[in-house]
Symmetry: C2
Subunit: 230 residues, 2 copies
DNA sequence: CGGTGTAGATCTACGGCGTAGATTCAGTAC
DNA sequence: GTACTGAATCTACGCCGTAGATCTACACCG
């Protein structure tokens, strides 16, 4: 019986990179990015922390691995004949991933800022390539496909960042205004925001995503049409 | 003559919260978020690190202060009669801020995930309130104004995250494919991405923002019109 | 069988971190 | 002078990432 509160691995048997990444993901899911330390990860795996450097060169590389692991669930069917509905499905899948792993989202949106595109884990580039393929197959020029990709994933990033914002301040309160803590905002300065307590409290991420997609796709239809209609 | 390499303040005179925040911003601008530590900040200001806790309760509160400082440059003219062109201007200003302080962007998009809305620095909520006012004045219902705000700022977040992605891998190389490091991607798996080396290399953030705004605003016009036209 | 190489796992240690709590210091009021 | 008070500083604790040295286990060769 282990003396530490958290040991899980028994120190025997073989460990794989996948074990390491999944365990790291578990810790992040539970306690956020800051909750993950090499020492703690080692403790959970029943291994010396230094051993982990066999599976990830550095802690940030570990982060990149977690991002890749999470994004490996994001599939894009490039053979779909209807690019608009395929994008909708991708959006829903992406949102589902973000909602399932909210604490990973900061890494998801932030790691690319520190990693040259070509050095990113291939798993994170696959959705990009597949989306390009989807759009090119649908008749878009490749540069337009790139524009659309950027706009689309930018929109997705923005959406999940919005949806996962911490709204609630005092969960056990029943009145919306008090629960969100909005009563502390000066009425003179924030009248509209305070008036929207009800709307803020009843935020529906899935519906909001669909609304955004409606607008985005509608804009795309107006502004960009595949030159070679199939 | 100081023995340390970085001391700037002489330890005399009075320090203000603004001094502290500006200095913190300088450090982040230079060396990124991870480059900022309480000890280093104290060193630069010529003060004991513990003194800083007078101006920010905690390090994350310091981050929030920096975010507020940076966002204080973002003005929204709620009295503008043309909400679409005002949103365009806000977008340009937001982008300018992000480009001026790229290392702050991770904080910008990430801090709200950890802070209940009502506890956020008021300076960061002012653009929200002002945007709502702009839209309501233009005839939108308040809940629609909220939707548009979310879509719009989500789009902006996504755009700057896209624009600030690290693309270059090997700066002194002249050939686009090599400079971006794309030649290391397996040709079989990433044919389209590799083919876009030129387009990736000549990314123009300002132009891309305008294109995105065209599409977004066009979508908004189609999907949402103020019920009470003025 | 002993010896040797080697690849992986582990240990030790360094310099840094955020910040709680104790202490000192500067300035004012008497 | 003394007492008080608020700000500034000091000390120390328990963490962190990881470089480099060391140890372990085992395959192979003589």
């Amino acid at each position: 019986m282990s003396g530490t509160t958290e040991a899980v691995g028994d120190g025997t048997g073989t460990i794989t990179r996948d074990h390491v990444l999944h365990t790291a993901l578990d810790i992040i899911d539970r306690d956020g990015v800051d909750g993950l330390s090499m020492r703690r990860l080692g403790r959970v795996l029943g291994r010396d922390p230094m051993t982990l450097y066999r599976y990830a060169d550095t802690k940030t590389a570990l982060f990149d691995g977690v991002v890749e692991l999470v994004l490996s669930d994001l599939t894009v069917d490039a053979t779909d004949d209807d690019w608009q509905s395929q994008l909708r499905e991708v959006a829903r899948r992406f949102r589902a991933i973000a909602v399932a792993h909210p604490h990973v989202v900061p890494l998801l949106v932030t790691r690319p800022l520190a990693t040259p595109l070509a050095m990113r884990p291939h798993g994170t580039l696959r959705p990009l390539e597949a989306t390009l393929e989807l759009l090119v197959r649908s008749g878009f020029r490749d540069v337009d496909a790139l524009h659309i990709y950027r706009l689309f994933f930018g929109f997705l990033y923005g959406h999940v960042l919005n949806e996962l914002q911490e709204l609630v301040d005092n969960p056990e309160e029943t009145d919306d205004l008090l629960r969100l803590g909005l009563h502390r905002l000066p009425l003179k300065e924030f009248p509209l925001l305070r008036g929207l307590a009800g709307a803020l409290a009843s935020y529906d991420g899935a519906a909001e995503l669909e609304r955004g997609l409606d607008i985005l796709l509608s804009g795309l239809r107006v502004q960009l049409t595949p030159p070679g209609r199939r």
